[in-house]
Symmetry: C2
């Protein structure tokens, strides 16, 4: 049940507690992963094959067996229900409808004096999407990562994923890859998979960026590869914060809090409300609904440790709390919820009103479900098309315009002790 706390303007302790959920990388894990990376860099394919045998129990046969073959894909797809494929397709449509608005345009300034300046948007050329093996494989996450990448124009989008001991990939992942338009699925994951795709081997082409969730070894390998490739943010345990006034429906609130809590014992579900009565009703509903949910124990533990109901005196305070904690998911269950957007400064994804529950956003609202956690919504964004492009600036100056800057640039360069910089301008105006 939720502990009810009265807001007194100080949330440091709660923020600290949520913050402490972050998994620290131990020296042992760090060193183990570092060794794997060095081995892959040095010994390439053979090292990769050895680690895969050791960790996944599958012996990759030869270099052709690094990739799921067309025949293997067809066999996997036969195991997936047609209605499930239809749902994936519909989800793709929804995600595409939202994310296509994030496609950025190159722009130019054409100035009266002849100067041309601007910024080009270019897709990152080759990107790997990490997909965890086993039960942690979420097809929805494949779509959430792959669709923005495809919209950005990424040419080579590949999946890396650990296989089962029989060499098979989870069929729903094969289906999600197909729906997303990802052709290449590599049969390796773990730290060794990240190392292989970040650095390349004799036969595996290196990528420019790696995205997607993974366990602590995968996260560490990504972190250690940062700079060699780009990586996405490292996600921590999930969280929801629900802002509710006295008219909100406690049944819905309880259900939404638990949908977050079921993810993980470290997940956090918070209610921020102006009504003590509502908080009590939510507690009654939590007890009632929890009884029939399969992940009851996880939910109970997470609500116990990282849940809570914060009582505020008005909605202004409610948004103060929410902006301070910067939740991954924010539900706003108040009158005229759309009108509250101006007060929201820090939140990953915002769900407005009674019929926009957070689980809709996990799948089919169209917004992305890869979001900043643990208060990092203060500086990070939801995953989007912008994560798969980079910008190049350019400038063209005619001689007479450069001349108007000649003296100032030289003075500036010399003041910074850089006389070859000044010389580069000077030589252009020397008498021949």
């Amino acid at each position: 049940m939720l502990k009810v706390i009265e807001y007194d303007g100080n949330l440091k302790e709660i923020a600290q507690k949520l913050n402490n959920r972050k998994e620290e990388i131990s020296i042992e894990v760090n060193n183990a992963v570092n060794d794997i990376i060095n081995d892959i860099r040095k010994n390439g394919n053979q090292a990769l094959i050895n680690y895969c045998r050791k960790f996944d129990g599958y012996q990759i046969k030869d270099e052709n067996d690094f990739v799921v073959s067309n025949q293997e894909k067809e066999e996997a797809l036969k195991q997936v229900d047609q209605d499930y494929i239809r749902i994936l397709e519909r989800t793709k449509q929804q995600i595409t409808e939202f994310h296509k608005n994030q496609i950025d345009k190159s722009w130019s300034l054409y100035k009266d004096n002849g100067v041309i300046m601007g910024q080009m948007v270019r897709p990152i050329e080759r990107v790997a999407l990490y997909v965890p093996g086993g039960t942690a494989a979420y097809p929805s996450t494949v779509l959430m990562n792959a669709i923005p990448a495809k919209l950005a124009g990424v040419k080579d989008l590949v999946i890396i994923t650990p296989v089962k001991a029989d060499g098979k990939v989870n069929p729903v992942i094969v289906a999600a890859a197909k729906v997303s338009g990802v052709d290449t699925i590599y049969k390796f994951g773990g730290a060794q998979g990240v190392a292989a795709i970040a650095n390349g081997t004799e036969t595996i082409e290196k990528v420019d960026k790696i995205v997607g969730p993974g366990n602590i070894f995968v996260a560490t390998a990504k972190k250690l590869s940062y700079g060699v490739v780009d990586i996405d943010m490292v996600a921590g345990p999930s969280e929801v914060l629900v802002i509710a006034d006295e008219n909100a429906n406690p049944k819905y609130i309880a259900a939404d809090l638990m949908s977050q809590a079921e993810h993980d014992k470290l997940a956090s579900a918070m209610l921020v409300t102006t009504s003590k009565e509502l908080a009590e009703k939510v507690n009654v509903e939590l007890k009632r609904q929890m009884a029939y949910l399969s992940r009851k124990e996880i939910i109970e533990e997470s609500l116990q440790n990282y849940g809570g109901a914060i009582l505020v005196k008005d909605l202004k305070e409610a948004f103060e709390v929410s902006n301070y904690l910067a939740p991954e998911h924010l539900e706003v269950l108040v009158e005229n919820p759309v009108n509250t957007l101006p007060y929201i400064k820090n939140a990953g994804s915002i769900f407005l009103g009674e019929y926009s529950p957070e689980p809709l956003g996990d799948y089919m609202s169209g917004t992305n479900h890869v979001l900043p956690t643990g208060g990092t919504a203060k500086f990070y964004s939801a995953l989007g098309v912008y994560d798969f492009v980079k910008y190049s600036s350019y400038s063209y100056y005619p001689k007479d315009v450069l001349e108007t800057f000649k003296d100032d640039v030289q003075t500036f360069a010399k003041s910074e002790g850089l006389d070859a910089h000044a010389n580069s301008i000077a030589v252009r105006f020397e008498e021949e």
Copy 2:
């Protein structure tokens, strides 16, 4: 002088050599910085004051002395030439003219079925700009960082910088801060300064992001603080690649290559040309101009180790080379340079034509000079307004539209084993 190499389609060795310039963080530096961070987290102001005395030689008097006072600022400004302030102001104008085009807008979709979805752009609220002390303090870099942050709407933009033993900050930095509209200059830098501003102390408010260049201790402290705060990319040694056809002016090319080479013995300056004759003329010019430049020795060493002239058979090959190496700065000295933009995939900033030399871009072209180095232009962008904002997505669904997704979301959630997710949808359509 530049060694002339014929292009044979293989640049791995050159790329590897450039790549190896990256400074690796030693275990000693890592541990030393880690200790400093832990000490600052635990002991706050007092630890900060101790480190500053130890490393900068200045004894911070009390908590008020953490910040450069108005009187200290006025005294510093008196030492700066009025014409220099005018140049800073003009540079600000140029940078603003370019960067204001990067200001992003929030957007909304209003669908026929009543759904509202969109994306809000929000500034990061509090940002610190690191400015190195001593001779490495570049006022141009203050402008290049501060102006985009201000345009993004960052409310609290502060500078942290190590002071001299007399407690003074370089007057040109005070001037650049004033021109950029930065009010608060903290008198601390180094790893301890980064730790204090990333975590906060009893009196110093933590920031959400830290940007700006620094030595290996600063870079390590930033890297170790990543996740607690956001950081900018870690810049490596600088580089320029010049693409030139047979009609390009060897005098200008030599001057531009040296303006890059003077930065650092590890800087790289490459010529890629269709003309062997041009490469030879550039070498003659390098020798002639080098004679009168103050940083001759650095230039010579950097050209020797990381410079080169790559001969290609046509411009198509030239862009192939450039896209593969993904240079920080790219100069295009060919006929109709603007028309070559479509062929450029990976480059930080592009300088088109004979009168747009790279040093103009370091100061006054308007484009940013904080750029991705060491081939990372394949996935990173020039610093811009987009680095100081974050995006929040939002969605509002009416009941009847949620109902059309009800069954599919439940099926999807259950397939991923998340029945509390399914329950969150189900409770909204139960009979009361």
